[in-house]
């Protein structure tokens, strides 16, 4: 028996070696394939419901096109629309479509497709996540085959940002019923298959209007939930790109011989939110005390290991409107203690801090606040809850992070305006001056004027708001040494334009 076992073991070892050489020997395929990892499956295959980002946005930008898009410097650039213009009152927006663009199913895109796409997005029955942004649309028309006209109920200077939303991809009007079973877009890659926990496969669209910029015959997204596994696969050459490296893996991969990291600041921000409809946060002194306890620089350093930048509001520090003259205050526990006493808590106060579980960055933020709060006699009890049970609207005090938007208006309005969708649900922050500033900025296209308004806004946001915004996070992707011409984008989606694989 023992001898048999020993022989067996040797045979197994031998066959393992054999397998290894066979696997190691696979290369020199005629076809070029780019393999990318994503750590979570999509939430939905209907672009109107894309809200998770990650894989959703990454395949979306390859399979679909929008009227307008953002480049990596957050400028609005043409996509399916060649050009656009607003009427003097900023209420009528006219887009001219690129001619001769074809859907993957073969038909040419025309203005009626755009109208049908936007009607679908604006129909509450389809539960589109940008429904709120489309409330100001009064009319969508197609005056001719290549012209689309939006008529808005109110002047809105940032309208082209709305038409760049990831959800606003142009779909064929005659295939709207099969959006999730037969994915048809106009983008540089055609959808082939998707296996919720396995691979999403795309194949090059030779008819794309800018086809020469996209070099790979196929693109494969692999869902790999564990970053340790994904990084090991990258270093071994099984993957070409690991999308969205967490801070703890950025430094690890920087020392790799076979792979490297591309890191870029983004607009994704994190905040301690305070619900002003729930005591004790209905008391302005308590809110001010929390502002006094936060040392943005220190928290950014501890929570992100330096892979982020402190900021005053969701307006990121690299934005031209960001005002670096406004001090990012250090913590002042003595002042906070005094404020709490004035608020009626001279003997200390206990607050419950809620946060989504399994987010190490947010955990480190929470612990840092808890430690400094002790000096002000404030006890912070931390409650991590599973993400899908984390409902900010019922929590008095919370930490969360939010994907960056692309224009000052979309970055700020929904959070700081008293009628903003996020604010009315979660924080109930009200400031007449902030309302006025945000509204005024919507009604002008004069950049100097806008800058003045947003500077004043930031002065207020440094000390008051629906919560204390702490930092914007960096986004990083890991990529193999064979990948050439790749750079991470602040939009957090992969830009594969002119990226190639060296052999």
């Amino acid at each position: 028996m023992m001898r048999w076992l020993r022989i067996r073991a040797r045979a197994v070892a031998a066959s393992l070696v054999l397998l290894g050489t066979v696997v190691g020997a696979q290369d020199s395929k005629a076809e070029s394939v780019l393999r990318i990892s994503a750590n979570t499956p999509v939430r939905s295959l209907d672009p109107a419901k894309h809200s998770l980002g990650q894989l959703e946005y990454n395949y979306s930008v390859l399979v679909y096109d929008r009227l307008t898009a953002f480049d990596d410097k957050l400028n609005i650039v043409p996509d399916l629309a060649e050009s656009w213009e607003a009427s003097a009152d900023l209420k009528t927006w006219t887009y001219r479509l690129r001619k001769g663009v074809k859907f993957h199913s073969g038909r040419e895109v025309d203005a009626e497709d755009v109208v049908a796409t936007y009607k679908r997005l604006a129909d509450p029955a389809n539960a589109s996540v940008i429904l709120g942004s489309l409330k100001i649309v009064e009319k969508i028309e197609a005056p001719d085959k290549y012209t689309v006209r939006f008529t808005l109920s109110t002047p809105y200077s940032s309208w082209p940002a709305i038409t760049s939303a990831f959800q606003a991809v142009i779909l064929p009007r005659d295939e709207l019923d099969t959006i999730t079973t037969k994915l048809v877009g106009t983008g540089p890659y055609k959808f082939v298959s998707y296996d919720p926990n396995g691979t999403m496969e795309l194949v090059r669209n030779p008819d794309y209007f800018d086809a020469t910029a996209f070099k790979f015959d196929r693109v494969e997204f692999k869902i790999i939930p564990d970053y340790s596994t994904a990084v090991a696969a990258l270093e071994r050459g099984e993957l070409d790109i690991v999308w969205g490296l967490p801070p703890e893996f950025m430094d690890k991969l920087k020392g790799s011989k076979t792979a490297q990291v591309s890191e870029v600041p983004t607009g994704t921000w994190a905040m301690f939110g305070m619900n002003e409809s729930i005591p004790p946060f209905d008391n302005p002194k308590v809110r001010q005390a929390i502002f006094k306890l936060v040392d943005r620089k220190k928290i950014a350093e501890i929570a992100l290991f330096g892979h982020g930048t402190p900021t005053i509001s969701p307006l990121p520090p690299f934005h031209p409107f960001y005002d670096s003259a406004i001090p990012i205050g250090a913590a002042d526990p003595a002042a906070a203690k005094k404020l709490l006493a004035e608020a009626g808590y001279p003997n200390g106060l206990t607050v419950q801090l809620w946060m989504p579980a399994q987010q190490p960055v947010l955990e480190r933020m929470a612990v840092t606040l808890r430690d400094i709060a002790k000096e002000a006699n404030l006890t912070v009890e931390i409650h991590p809850v599973p993400e899908d049970q984390f409902r900010p609207s019922t929590r008095p005090f919370m930490i969360n992070n939010f994907s960056g938007r692309t224009t000052p208006d979309t970055m700020l309005f929904e959070w700081y305006h008293s009628t903003g969708s996020w604010n009315t649900q979660n924080w109930h922050f009200k400031s007449a001056e902030v309302d006025k500033l945000l509204e005024a900025a919507r009604q002008t296209t004069n950049v100097e004027e806008q800058k003045k308004l947003y500077t004043r806004f930031q002065e207020i946001a440094a000390e008051d708001g629906p919560g204390v915004v702490i930092f914007v996070l960096n986004h990083a992707d890991g990529y193999g040494n064979k990948v050439k011409g790749f750079q991470s984008s602040p939009l957090r989606t992969l830009n594969l334009r002119n990226v190639t694989l060296a052999n």
Partner: protein, 318 residues
């Protein structure tokens, strides 16, 4: 025999119906709801209501259940509410892939587990027994995800023999695809074989000390025949039971192993369905897993009857 078999099938059907009700009810008392999960941070009362209407989530619970169960009776697993695609193809593909891990694992666990158990019983308290005991305890006490990561580090990153994850790409060769199975199977086997080998060792020890083994030895039978024909056959019985139960552990282990190795099987499909509150998908996966577990236990019981030593022994002795 036929009546026993039919009766057991009846029980299995009842268990499956009960299970489906239980899953349905449990998911409805969970705090989050499907529409919120789909819409995420952008959920508003309006879009939530619209989505619930579209997905039929606003109907009364019994109606939702009967709709779903009615479809199932026609062999229709329904649509995944998250993917908005039919469930059946997704489910069978994932199940097939998991079978590629589970079946080799069970085979290896059976062979290796029984082998180690017999050897350590025969070598009772000698160094080899102590060594296998220690090894088995270490293997079983450390959770799968740890072994998984260790294997990736050693066999993929360091030795560069085997792929870290996934199940290969559409164009890969058969060998390349098989290579993806090695580490998941090895990880699962490590923990499971301990159940079998420990149980096999103790029942083998018991058998070796029994009177009939003593009698066989006294009659001068070669030790090999005593161990393999007399002791082993008797000691096999509890092992068959534990193997059927191990199928349950296997499902748990598969969830962990598929996650570490990013292998797209049924375990991760279940996690996906639960985390996304995709009720029809969750129901489908759990029912298929339940059915497999019940059938495996039935098979074990039938096998038990076939292995019954009193019948076999009586025949072979004269």
């Amino acid at each position: 025999m036929a009546i026993y078999f039919l009766k057991r099938l009846g029980y299995i059907a009842a268990i499956i119906v009960l299970m489906s009700l239980l899953v349905f009810l449990v998911t409805h008392v969970l705090p989050a709801n499907t529409a919120e999960v789909i819409l995420g941070e952008y959920a508003t009362a309006e879009t939530k209501a619209a989505l619930e209407q579209k997905l039929g989530l606003n109907l009364p619970l019994p109606v939702q259940y009967l709709r779903w169960a009615g479809g199932l009776l026609h062999g229709d697993f329904g649509q995944s509410v998250i993917l908005e695609q039919p469930i059946a193809p997704i489910l069978w593909t994932a199940l097939g892939r998991s079978a590629l891990i589970a079946i080799p694992t069970l085979l290896i666990v059976t062979l290796v587990g029984i082998g180690i158990g017999v050897v350590s019983a025969v070598q009772y308290r000698r160094p080899l027994d102590r060594l296998t005991s220690l090894g088995t305890y270490v293997a079983v006490s450390v959770p799968e995800f740890f072994w998984g990561l260790v294997f990736i580090l050693v066999f993929s990153s360091y030795l560069n023999w085997l792929p870290t994850s996934g199940n290969g790409s559409p164009g890969d060769s058969l060998w390349a695809r098989l290579a993806h199975l090695v580490l998941p199977v090895a990880t699962l086997t490590l923990g499971l074989q301990a159940h079998v080998s420990r149980l096999m060792r103790s029942s083998m020890l018991e058998a070796l000390r029994s009177n009939y083994v003593r009698a066989a030895r006294a009659r001068g039978m070669p030790e090999r025949t005593v161990i393999l024909r007399h002791a082993l056959r008797n000691a096999m019985l509890p092992t068959i039971t534990v193997l059927a139960q191990d199928l349950g552990f296997l499902v748990g282990g598969i969830v962990a192993v598929e996650t570490i190795f990013a292998y797209p099987g049924i375990g991760r499909l279940l996690v996906y369905a639960v985390s996304r509150h995709d009720l029809p998908l969750m129901e489908a996966v759990i029912l298929v897993v339940t059915a497999i577990y019940c059938l495996a236990n039935l098979a074990a019981d039938l096998l038990y009857g076939a292995f019954n030593p009193r019948i076999r022994y009586g025949r072979s002795v004269d």
